[in-house]
């Protein structure tokens, strides 16, 4: 690349994602981002400087060859681009939509320092949407005659199942709910990740011979040991689905609900449809507690299901919000209010919640980790009127399998594994995703599922590999 083209590229602005107008979109669940056209994608891809040492790849938790796929898009070799992405990412249509790119690939992009980073997420989504569902996936090896049970159908389980099937193993996915996808179907709303994208992934896996057994709560139904009698190995990807509450007075009043409940009623059960069989309580004034993606999903869902005012209360400042930047911007455009440095200490009301008592917080000096803490300011309580409250302060690991004999659990309730292979201390049992890391991201869960698939493949091919000693 000549110095002059370099300079020209650096002057090109980032290609905006076409999106629906804030006011129009805030009353329905249609996807907000419309996706790049070919022309926009090629334009954006041509901004890439094609660095000799692409730091964006270091920013990607699974090491997608970003420079190469972006170059392919710039050359209009879209199928090649899809193939390159799918080498490292088995859920690109999902990740392109929901990854926190600003903290990952785009955060590392050198263009970010000059103007704005290449829109890697938007390009990934474009490439994945343009290819038929998972068509880029290499075809499978000969059947090995081995069978593997995958427990949980979130991104970790789906990615693990996909690779295991490709390695020639017969896979059965066991899912407690009636629909496959984990958080992708019950948590993340339609307007951000259409259910059809997830359904297409599942359909593709079924097409490749993966069996799905729904309504199967492992641990209550068959145990992991029961599964080991039927299968040669087991992968546990049950996620971190146990909602945390604030443990303050009045939290069990009618109208205070977890984000998981609120979102599940709408996303999984369709409570937003006029003829819905499942109810959901919204109210005029909705307060959402938290600052992550879950809080943002809850508040934007509240706006879409009829809330007149919807406010996020976060105990730190905007800078510390873990939610994706795009989500925060979209929420503001849709009329969501944000209140920072406030934390609920009690809820009041007769039977239904009517008020929320908040205490003002102040920031403390940064600790050893460089992160500023917060502490309450004595006597600063204020009461605000509310109709409903959605608590979105995080999820803990799902405990249904925690008493499985031979599995080592950390004191946070996560399963201890060898990070390279996903192997647990129990022979033949592997784990990955949120159940190992605690609540994290789709791409980390996907990556963990794939690493475990490799680990399982090695275990099955070499015969009895001793369970890891994990110290």
């Amino acid at each position: 690349m000549t110095e002059s083209t370099r300079r020209e590229r650096m002057k090109m602005p980032r290609t905006a994602m076409p999106e629906r107008d804030g006011r129009n979109r805030s009353t329905d669940f249609e996807e907000v981002n419309l996706g790049y056209t070919e022309q926009l994608a090629v334009l954006e891809a041509s901004r890439c400087l094609q660095c000799a040492r692409p730091v964006c790849v270091d920013g990607c938790p699974v090491g997608v060859r970003i420079g190469d796929f972006v170059a392919a898009v710039a050359d209009r070799r879209f199928d090649d681009a899809a193939l390159i992405v799918s080498e490292d990412n088995s859920l690109p249509a999902v990740c392109g939509r929901v990854c926190p790119q600003e903290h990952q690939c785009e955060g590392a992009c050198v263009m970010g320092r000059r103007s704005s980073p290449i829109a890697i997420g938007h390009l990934e989504r474009f490439v994945a949407d343009r290819a038929a569902a998972s068509s880029g996936r290499p075809s499978g090896s000969a059947p090995t005659g081995k069978t593997v049970a995958v427990v949980g159908s979130g991104p970790a389980g789906l990615a693990c199942a996909a690779d295991l099937a490709r390695f020639g193993h017969q896979v059965t996915v066991y899912e407690a709910l009636h629909q496959a996808g984990g958080v992708l179907v019950y948590g993340i709303p339609e307007y951000r990740l259409p259910k059809a994208v997830v359904a297409a992934e599942v359909a593709q896996l079924e097409h490749e011979g993966v069996r799905f057994e729904m309504n199967a709560p492992i641990g209550r139904a068959e145990s992991v040991d029961d599964l080991l009698e039927r299968h040669d190995a087991v992968f546990i990807g049950v996620g971190a689905g146990l909602p945390k509450f604030l443990d303050v007075a009045g939290e069990n009043l009618v109208g205070v609900q977890s984000a998981n409940e609120f979102l599940t009623r709408v996303n999984l059960m369709g409570a937003n449809r006029p003829q819905a069989e499942t109810p959901v309580l919204v109210g005029r004034r909705v307060a959402v507690i938290g600052g992550g993606n879950t809080a943002l999903d809850a508040v934007r869902t509240a706006v879409r299901t009829g809330a007149e005012s919807a406010t996020v209360y976060y105990r730190r400042t905007e800078d510390e919000m873990p939610a994706r930047t795009e989500e925060i911007r979209h929420a503001r455009e849709e009329g969501v209010h944000f209140e920072f440095l406030l934390n609920p200490v009690a809820f009041g009301g007769e039977t239904r919640v009517e008020t929320m008592r908040l205490i003002r917080m102040r920031q403390t000096e940064p600790g050893d980790d460089g992160r500023r803490g917060v502490e309450p300011i004595d006597g600063s309580e204020v009461d605000v009127p509310v109709d409903t409250v959605v608590v979105a302060v995080g999820n803990a690991p799902n405990p249904m399998l925690s008493s499985t004999p031979g599995l080592r659990m950390s004191r946070w309730g996560t399963i201890v594994t060898d990070p390279d292979t996903g192997m647990t201390e129990k022979a033949g049992v592997f784990a990955g995703g949120d159940i190992v890391t605690g609540g994290a991201t789709v791409i980390l869960a996907m990556g963990a599922g794939r690493r475990a698939a490799k680990g399982i493949d090695g275990y099955l091919r070499t015969g009895a590999v001793a369970a890891a000693s994990l110290d």
Partner: protein, 294 residues
């Protein structure tokens, strides 16, 4: 583009007719007005179920998820029995189904099994459809060598269920009806008070309307008789994922679907549960009216 996938994905979505598992109804009959007993194919549940556990069902593809206790299971045949009281939209939709048809989803088993041990003299109390929920536990307790006294009550004779089945497993059965049309006239609590006053009782298990369970809890508290109730909060997933089913027991918040549904009666905050169970009553009434008008 995704819209296109969506269409194929939706088309290829398994119809209940070609599901791996079809929760087919083998038998369905009314055993009391508005109370229907079903025998349903559900091999996984039949194989792993223990007394006290329940399933979550969806009657139709759009249906709500509701919990129902498993009354009996036949692991060999792969069937379970459910007893459904038609109180609202979903339960009435279910009760309109008949053999040869199917229930869209049956997930389970869920919940912690009943604690079964040789406690000594154990009284099981069933009020209304609560009798269906307590029956499998009563049977298991009888098999574990307890002396089981069953007290079953209903408003009127027509609404009594499972009396013969209980007679087959319990050492004695006391029937009460509010209007005196069968057994003794009065409430199950009256019968329980009487038994407690004349003999030593090691444990009480009471399942029925909240009011009944609260009254029984009051009754056994001064006697310090260990008392178990099965709580019926509103549930969604039944796997501990939503927290909608939370109840307060001994001042602690518990998720009934995983920590229960059975709890120590003397610690239960019944008022809170009554309050929370009324959360959606307007919606429920509307849906029921629509069902009636179609």
């Amino acid at each position: 583009m995704w819209r296109q996938w969506g269409r194929t994905a939706l088309l290829s979505r398994p119809d209940p007719a070609d599901h791996d598992v079809v929760y087919a109804i083998q038998d369905a009959r009314f055993i009391a007005p508005d109370v229907k007993r079903f025998r349903v194919d559900a091999p996984r549940v039949a194989r792993y179920w223990k007394p006290g556990q329940f399933v979550i069902v969806r009657a139709t593809d759009d249906g709500e998820r509701i919990p129902l206790t498993v009354v009996e299971a036949d692991p060999g045949a792969g069937t379970i029995d459910l007893i459904v009281q038609g109180v609202g939209k979903t339960t009435r939709t279910l009760n309109a189904l008949t053999s040869g048809e199917w229930i869209h989803d049956v997930a389970g088993p869920l919940g912690s099994p009943s604690e079964i041990d040789d406690f000594g003299t154990t009284i099981v109390v069933g009020g209304g459809v609560g009798t269906a929920i307590v029956y499998p536990t009563a049977r298991a307790l009888a098999r574990a060598a307890n002396r089981v006294i069953a007290i079953v009550g209903a408003r009127t004779a027509d609404l009594l269920i499972l009396v013969e089945e209980l007679e087959a497993v319990a050492d004695s059965v006391i029937v009460t009806t509010d209007d005196g049309t069968a057994g003794r006239s009065g409430f199950v609590t009256d019968a329980l008070a009487e038994v407690i006053s004349v003999e030593h009782v090691d444990r009480v298990i009471a399942i029925g309307p909240l009011q009944m369970m609260a009254a029984i809890s009051q009754l056994t508290r001064p006697e310090a008789i260990p008392t178990i109730v099965s709580l019926n909060p509103i549930m969604v997933d039944g796997t501990g994922m939503c927290g909608g089913c939370r109840v307060s027991v001994g001042g602690e918040t518990k998720f009934a679907c995983v920590d229960g549904p059975e709890f120590d009666a003397h610690g239960v905050d019944f008022d809170l549960l009554r309050m929370r169970n009324a959360t959606y009553c307007d919606f429920e009434r509307r849906r029921l009216e629509e069902l009636g008008s179609t």
